[in-house]
């Protein structure tokens, strides 16, 4: 099984019914699985911070959501994450990294470098994963922390696990 299929199972196990995303290449398979599943709804966002606001609305309505994005989108979410901290709303995030190991596009490097410090400054618990076979179990732990503890928790999938984008 690929990690995408394992992550899909984690979403099921945590009763996550709605995924909000600005997509990334590394997320395309798990997003396809979610789009095909009758039990899941995928909402494509204009910009990533919308997804943070949406996580609060889902939680207020007693549903569970998850937010999938590329690391560049984390920068768009900074002030929105203050709402998660203020409300203790669960916010489970799966983030594919850019701007790390072997990145071909230098414009991706500053935000990639800042992704984890910025999230941690906003109170998000971050778990970086470098091996593909550890993505799903780490996301399972992050979902547990989010939904059982009322925290924002993110899994940062390292480019070592995804392979780098080459043009």
């Amino acid at each position: 099984m690929s990690w995408s299929e394992d992550v899909f199972s984690v979403l099921d196990n945590h009763q996550v019914s709605t995924i909000a995303t600005v997509p990334d290449a590394g997320l395309s398979h798990v997003l396809s699985l979610c789009e095909e599943a009758p039990s899941k709804k995928v909402v494509t966002l204009t910009t990533e911070e919308e997804g943070v606001g949406m996580m609060l609305g889902l939680w207020l309505g007693k549903q569970r959501g998850a937010l999938f994005m590329q690391s560049s989108g984390v920068g768009n979410c900074i002030n929105a994450l203050s709402v998660m901290a203020s409300t203790r709303c669960p916010c489970a995030m799966l983030i594919t990294m850019r701007g790390q190991w072997g990145e071909f596009n230098p414009w991706q490097v500053p935000m990639g470098h800042a992704t984890q410090p910025v999230m941690e400054a906003m109170g998000v618990y971050c778990y970086s994963v470098e091996q593909a076979d550890q993505i799903a179990e780490t996301f399972d732990a992050a979902c547990g922390l989010a939904f059982n503890g009322g925290y924002a928790a993110a899994v940062l999938i390292h480019q070592r696990a995804l392979g780098t984008k080459v043009f």
Binding site: T44, G57, T87
Partner: protein, 198 residues
């Protein structure tokens, strides 16, 4: 809105927001209400606190998207967003997200005073060439309209609380700050209270 109700206006004939919101909230029924930070939060709180009101105190630009999440999570209930022009403009791209998701139980009301009321009444972008209703239509809203007079605003209760959505309404209201009516600022409490009341 009842025919006998006369909404107060300012000396330029613009409807005052506080009595407008009070009149609208009298029609809320079982609706779930999310308010945008600043005057929209105070206006809705002034109409009477309610366990199924959720008040933003920060996170400018997010209110409409929280309404979308709520509408998806509670498809049998009406979800209503009441916010200001600054909050809506900051999250204007969310109109595309919402129109595409197309929840039939969501309505958004923008109380458009064309100003940043919290920070000194600086003019907002909706005072100029920008038309949020045209932006909503471009984003894909089939039901989007501006309401400038009391007579036009008589349609608002039905549009907010019963017309199949998604609905986007802009009510042009008088500038000027009403007395601040402050609900709880404890976000964790407001969240738990809202969920427990479902």
């Amino acid at each position: 809105m009842d025919q006998h109700v006369t909404l107060p206006v300012d000396d330029e004939g613009r409807v005052r927001r506080r009595p407008l919101v009070a009149e609208l909230m009298a029609h809320r029924g079982e609706a779930l209400v999310i308010t945008g930070l600043g005057s929209a939060t105070y206006d809705v709180a002034a109409a009477g606190d309610h366990d199924n009101n959720f008040y933003f105190w920060g996170g400018m630009g997010l209110t409409a998207m929280t309404g979308l999440g709520l509408a998806i999570a509670q498809p049998q209930r009406r979800a209503v967003v009441i916010t200001g022009d600054g909050d809506m403009m900051m999250g204007i791209g969310s109109l595309a997200t919402i129109a595409s998701a197309a929840p039939d139980n969501l309505a958004i009301l923008v109380l458009d005073n064309e100003r940043f009321g919290e920070t000194g009444e600086q003019m907002g972008l909706s005072a100029g060439v920008t038309d949020m209703v045209q932006m909503a239509k471009g984003a894909g809203f089939q039901k989007a309209a501006t309401f400038a007079t009391e007579a036009e605003m008589r349609e608002l209760p039905d549009l907010l609380f019963s017309t199949p959505g998604p609905v986007f309404c802009v009510a042009k209201v008088a500038p000027g700050n009403d007395a601040r009516v402050l609900p709880s600022t404890d976000g964790a409490y407001l969240t738990r209270r809202f969920r427990d009341a479902l």
